[in-house]
Subunit: 593 residues, 2 copies
């Protein structure tokens, strides 16, 4: 019953007009093989796959109850196996992976858009290749040449898949507390023993082998997070020449029953002296895992856009067809028994909030993608340094702010349906259940906010945000004064600059301050980022007469007048500080004291 | 795995200290039989019932998949039948109903607190007696003496239950479009034919008969909402002397599969020439139904408090026991492997937001309950007139603002659990799924906002809100200047007064304006109401030394500095008006134009 049409025109506008992708690609010898025509062709193919192959499986897999667990074996929902085969054969697993290992070598600013379509149409399905891609990045960055040769080509054909095994029952955010052990064997391998939970794609039937990247502690490792190493533990051992050997001592103990993404297998994984191989150096596992985590974190933001776009499209379609009541400014459809609910300002408010956040989110993802592409492909060391700092600053925004806005959007889209939004057959309630995890996994959005305010702001004395604001100012100053968004983005830049200064000062005086105001700061920087995106969108749309472009200018004004006001609330909360919160004793919270 | 302990101490504080219940009850001859000791005893009994009888059934009924439908018969989840028997035998169905018909005659300011406990522990269960109580109110207000005698006593023993049958597939908010027909028979009864959807408790196995209140149109009735009449249609016809006769031509065609409240039977009801009896006068059915709807709307607010209290308690318990990381201001539990996550400001932020909104919500529900009690029991006509206006103004706030804040709270409480909050066994995700309907049914929260800004504000030229603000000012002016909330509530009163004036002016110029800003206005009035509650709470707590009271003062300050800032955003959005929203053409929403 759900509809989905990939927003190809908007995607092309963002790539071509806003971020001048052709110019960027042609100006970089590593990307010069790509142009907008090729990019559009790739996006059109993915639009077909997502709409024709996986969209319907999204509902049916949820109705089926998701994955099935039976004595350590996981069966994916009906249709997933065939769809994954098509996906792998289409070369989609390795779309952004190095050509050297069988990937397609496409830049991030393009793959984020392809990924968005899969997230829109079937988030559970998306999680299978996603973890493989993440594991591939970690292996490519850190593993030995032999390990790369063994695993990477199998990943990108879709024959094997990957996982990341971090969390244990008592250790989530605080990975320094993990207990999984890695005992060295005489042949250079390790015996891995322990239990990991919440392992996405830990066991399934889509691939012939599963490659786990496992965090564990070697004997005598330093305490805490400095004593964590990363190991490859494969479901089936791999023989010389890469053929599959005997079963390793790792198995799924159960699958979790979850709020959503039921088609994704979330496993408890038991390692019982499983043979593992060190990746990189001992005790450097956490840093290694963060390479993968950062990639996933951006992906969670794309999950948000995907869900929010799906929710918007379905709500707009419903609103257009639902006839109820009459317009306050005079009947609009006298030939019908009632006007469509689109005549009501409140319905438009919900749909425009959705669209305003979605279009900014998409532009922002492409912007961060472009920064990642600079870090990967540029030969200009200063440009790479800057882009690395920008990515460090904006990864928590991409993960947390985009998913927070996406939940708002999906909830409002469900509300457009009234009671029908609460009924399973319309797909809106599943959309919310599936999306909700994006705010929680890969570091909760609260943890992202700590990362932004602590590591990315206070630790560098605000250098990253200062450089970001300088870029925004430079862009805005070149804009035509006739665009009202110009004054807005300059004003917001100043407010965020000032609140950052306030935070840097307060953090010196109160160690608890930054944690308490982190989420509000993340939203303030998110709002700045989105208004910056609307400055860039407006600049690109300004000179063109077509309604498509002129509507972008209206949406930018809508954003500034109707969404941006949240900034005032965020700033006030930051100014209120942490004292009231910290003075209450612990027992206050669990008693009526 | 979920915990629940009724917040009896807070409830007593609100009744006794904040709203001086004893004084109020003793001062009213119709309520003079009640005192705080009796009230506390009732609440303690309900605390036991909710914790010991229905809490566990909440999880199990959801896991069971909710109600079962088989050829028109609905079986409620395991344990519901026995629990309902206990509930009915305890006299709980008629707790607030007239003693004349077998009820207990308890005032609303007490029953809202008892209801909250059921909503906390088993919202699906609550919906069975709730609809009966609502139907009872409509019958008591509008039906003939004979009809009252026939139905009301059976309701309050729990032998029979009630429903309200309004919505049809094409007619939800716009009830003027309903098609269900009522053809008069020669014996004075009517033949009812049509299909109703989303009928809560439309069919179930808890009671021996089900009494449907059905909206339908008689032949030649005026078009639209002025041509709607209300009928009693019972599942089994009722013989003289009240015994049960043959089956009527009404049956459940199916049950809906929903996001949550799966233990509640949401039915499609088919009326196939069913025998019905007019309630009140022809063509006055919609007004009649609103008597019942208004009652339900306040109940939805209580549903919000119940869910939010449950979510808070579980999140606070989890946070206390979850050890992860160390406090930024120095280790708090050196004997443990890590500090509890309560040391982190962000976790406290989520819990204090929850608690600040919950305690204000509860006080507000009691306040509105007291106003309802004045309308019902007072003999002072001016007091009754004022209370009626106050209830009219605040019903949409109680329904929509309380449930909006409750969803925020439940989402943040789930977030406190990290990944565990997403797993079904912890109960947090069910809490969200169950709560979500409260924002949608009985008129969506958007429709509530239209009611507030249109019927309750613009139509009376702002008279209701002006009188409310006058009451708030009068209260605040008597407060001790040392309480900082005094200045806050006066300031907020002024801001809401000014924005109301702005709205009244704009509404004259732009017919689309009020609909577009309604939700923001509802939130502004909600914030005013909660800061008023904190003024009253602070006033009651000020003179007392116990930490229980002193912590109320801190929570009031927390509310003013950390929650109230949302007001700035709401006012800015209202000032931005509707023009940008309304100028976009309809096709903009469903195309990339």
């Amino acid at each position: 019953m759900s509809i989905y049409n990939a927003p190809l025109k908007d995607m092309e506008f963002i790539l071509n007009d806003v971020f001048k992708a052709d110019e960027f690609w042609q100006g970089n010898e590593n990307l010069a093989h790509l142009d907008m025509a090729t990019a559009n062709a790739i996006l059109e193919e993915m639009a077909k796959f997502s709409k024709n192959v996986i969209l319907d499986l999204n509902r049916t897999s949820d109705e089926e109850g998701g994955v099935h667990f039976n004595h350590g074996e996981v069966t994916t929902p009906k249709g997933f196996k065939d769809a994954f085969k098509q996906f792998a054969e289409g070369g989609w697993v390795g779309l952004g992976a190095p050509e050297e290992w069988g990937g397609q070598g496409m830049p991030k600013m393009l793959t984020v858009l392809a990924d968005e379509m899969i997230w829109s149409t079937n988030p559970s399905f998306m999680l299978y290749p996603l973890l493989t891609v993440g594991a591939g990045i970690a292996i490519n960055d850190l593993a030995s040449q032999e390990q790369k040769q063994t695993y990477l080509p199998k990943f990108y054909t879709g024959e094997w898949s990957g996982t990341m095994c971090l969390t244990e029952p008592h250790a989530g955010t605080d990975l320094g507390m993990i207990k999984t052990k890695a005992e060295p064997n005489e042949d250079g391998s390790y015996s891995i023993t322990g239990t990991k939970i919440f392992i996405t794609s830990g066991e399934h039937d889509l691939c012939e082998n599963i490659i786990h990247l496992v965090l564990a502690k070697t004997p005598n490792a330093p305490a805490g997070s400095r004593g964590i190493s990363m190991f490859i533990v494969s479901k089936f051992l791999v023989n010389a020449y890469g053929s599959i050997g005997e079963r390793n001592a790792v198995a799924a103990g159960s699958v979790e029953h979850k709020m959503g993404i039921k088609g994704s297998a979330t496993c408890v994984m038991n390692f019982d002296g499983a043979r593992g191989y060190l990746v990189g150096n001992e005790n450097e596992g956490l840093a290694a895992m963060f390479v993968m985590m950062n990639y996933e974190r951006l992906s969670m933001g794309i999950q948000g856009i995907g869900a929010a776009e799906f929710a918007y499209q379905n709500a707009a379609e419903y609103a257009t067809n639902r006839l109820q009541g009459r317009s306050a400014s005079g009947t609009k459809s006298p030939e019908k028994p009632a006007d469509s609910i689109l005549v009501h300002g409140d319905v438009r408010r919900m749909l425009l909030n959705a669209r305003a956040n979605n279009e900014a989110s998409r532009a922002f993802a492409v912007y961060v993608g472009q920064q990642l592409d600079i870090t990967k492909y540029s030969t200009d060391t200063e440009a790479v340094r800057k882009a690395n700092d920008r990515v460090a600053l904006l990864t928590p925004i991409a993960k947390a702010y985009l998913t927070d806005k996406a939940l708002d959007t999906c909830l409002e889209a469900q509300m457009v349906f009234g009671g029908h939004g609460y009924i399973r057959e319309w797909g809106m309630e599943q959309c919310i259940r599936d999306l909700r995890i994006s705010q929680i996994y890969e570091g909760t959005n609260g943890v992202q906010a700590q990362d932004l305010i602590g590591r990315k702001t206070i630790r560098c004395g605000g250098a990253y945000i200062a450089e970001y604001i300088a870029e925004i100012r430079e862009f805005a100053q070149d804009m035509d004064d006739a665009l009202s968004i110009k004054a807005t983005v300059l004003d917001v830049s100043k407010q965020v600059e000032e609140i950052t200064q306030f935070i840097l000062e307060q953090a010196k005086q109160s160690p608890d301050f930054s944690n308490a105001v982190a989420v509000d700061y993340l939203h303030a920087v998110g709002l700045l980022s989105f208004v910056y995106m609307y400055a860039r969108i407006s600049q690109a749309a300004q000179a063109k007469d077509e309604s498509f472009f002129q509507h972008k200018l209206i949406l930018a004004q809508y954003y500034a007048s109707k969404v941006l006001p949240d900034l005032a609330a965020r700033l006030q909360r930051i100014q209120a500080g942490a004292d009231l919160m910290m003075q209450l004793p612990e027992e206050y919270f669990t008693t009526q004291s």
